[in-house]
């Protein structure tokens, strides 16, 4: 595990460096935030330990910039303050710092704080594993693109917006948003139970084939529920189950597998449903071209109150330019490439998997 320590004050750098060496960690050094960012262009520290007040770029600004930049792996940020700097600490935590240390730093406290960091970073490994499983399930049909990336980004965006809605403020917190980002890629994991001949059929499905295809919700949901019951401490599995089994339900009760309606459908599934359908509309299928963003938004709006939760649609419309940006940023092939995914969400006014 590599670290980066950032401080313009030589004494603090020497002490912190000596402690990290004593604990067996490799590290690099920067003397202000700007230099730290420059160094991070060439190596990815797992942990950044930074003083708050520095010339050119302070620790809070550095933290904010680290969070703003997209990175393959999470960077754990510890800010170092003096005991009286409570306000700086709050600003740092608000900017995305994960933890803090007060000077003079004690070796034991440093060791324990780094252990906390290592536990959290191992959870990030869990996220990668979950996403890999979802990708594996997705790889059996022809769509090997970034559908899952788009769905999770859009779901997270919608959930974040809805967290400000009075109706959902108590339901959607930071953990909910994190979980929907983590688990929404598993929405079609049940397709592993659908035969290839149906999954990859190019023509219209027969009614019997369609019923088989619909089973992917039950297959995915029941698998995830069994895991959630076996590992009750893994709370994320319950949301994964909710989404997998309910993302084809409709607000008006005409969905499947259980014909749930309205708020009987878990909020997580109501959110992912909009994200999933939008992405399907923007993708080319054997029976339709890729729709433009404007047309897709219009279709989602047509489904407000029938297929979709009206509040989720309102959030979607409010953020439609950001949704568009996500859609057009995460592209694998030119949008409109011919694919024949069989796990098609029910598109408004269309026969499913026609």
């Amino acid at each position: 595990m590599k670290m980066l320590i950032v401080d313009d004050e030589p004494i603090s750098l020497q002490i912190l460096g000596s402690f990290l060496t004593a604990l067996g960690y490799e590290f690099e050094v920067a003397t202000d935030g700007r230099e730290a960012l420059e160094k991070m262009r060439h190596f990815s520290p797992s942990i950044v330990i930074s003083d708050v007040e520095m010339p050119h770029m302070d620790g809070v600004s550095l933290c904010r910039e680290i969070r703003r930049q997209r990175s393959i792996q999470y960077t754990y940020v510890i800010l170092v303050t003096c005991r009286s700097e409570h306000e700086s600490l709050l600003m740092g935590l608000d900017a995305g710092a994960d933890d803090y240390l007060s000077k003079p730093i004690s070796l034991e406290e440093l060791r324990l704080r780094i252990n906390v960091a290592k536990r959290l970073l191992s959870l990030e490994g869990r996220e990668m594993m979950i996403f890999s499983l979802a990708k594996l399930a997705e790889s059996r049909d022809d769509d090997t693109g970034e559908h899952l990336e788009r769905v999770r980004e859009i779901s997270k965006l919608l959930a974040t917006e809805l967290s400000y809605h009075p109706k959902f403020a108590e339901v959607i917190d930071g953990q909910f948003i994190q979980l929907i980002y983590l688990t929404s890629p598993l929405h079609d994991i049940g397709k592993v139970g659908v035969p290839d001949k149906i999954l990859n059929k190019e023509g219209k499905l027969t009614p019997e084939e369609f019923e088989t295809m619909k089973e992917h919700t039950r297959i995915g949901g029941e698998t995830l529920r069994a895991s959630a019951q076996a590992y009750s401490e893994a709370s994320f599995l319950w949301m994964a189950y909710e989404i997998a089994i309910n993302h084809h339900e409709r607000w008006d009760g005409n969905g499947y597998p259980n014909k749930l309606s309205g708020e009987q459908i878990p909020l997580s599934a109501r959110i992912v449903s909009v994200a999933d359908v939008y992405d399907a509309l923007r993708s080319k299928r054997v029976y339709k071209p890729a729709f433009s963003h404007e047309k897709s938004v219009g279709i989602i709006l047509e489904g407000k109150g029938t297929q979709f939760d009206p509040d989720v649609v309102d959030a979607f419309v409010k953020l439609e330019s950001m949704v568009r940006e996500i859609s057009e940023t995460h592209q694998e092939l030119p949008r409109g490439s011919e694919v024949a995914p069989r796990m098609e969400p029910t598109l408004p006014d269309q026969t499913t998997l026609a």
Binding site: D8, E9, I11, I15, S18, F19, E53, C82, K103, P104
Partner: protein, 121 residues
């Protein structure tokens, strides 16, 4: 006063404890001495910079320099100086000229005491 009594006195009055600092440096005498040298050599200039800023009435610079001294002395386990620097920093951020003047005198006094403790172990 014996040496052990002097060291006991240092610990009690919070100026500086060489033994405590050595413990803090994991018993590594060469690290402790290197840090003491760096700190001792830099202190007179730090003090001069603050003095110039006080005489010029440059309040933002006083705050910045006091903050830096606060951090460095905290890292050196020099608690009294760190506290004095923190007080000066607060006064500067509040633009309280009377408190700045008083705070500066305390910082000067604590630096002097600390240098004494560092140079005469």
């Amino acid at each position: 006063m014996t040496i052990s009594q002097l060291k006991q006195s240092e610990r009690q009055n919070g100026v500086f404890s060489r033994q405590r600092f050595l413990d803090y440096c994991l018993g590594r005498a060469e690290l402790a001495e290197r840090l003491i040298t760096i700190f001792t050599e830099g202190l007179p200039k730090d003090l001069l910079d603050i003095q110039e800023a006080v005489e010029a009435g440059d309040v933002p610079r006083i705050a910045k320099l006091a903050h830096r001294l606060k951090g460095a002395s905290a890292s050196m386990c020099a608690e009294k100086l760190s506290t004095a620097a923190a007080t000066l920093e607060r006064s500067a951020r509040a633009s309280d000229t009377d408190q700045i003047a008083a705070g500066w005198l305390v910082v000067e006094k604590e630096v002097s005491a600390l240098l004494q403790a560092l140079r005469h172990p």
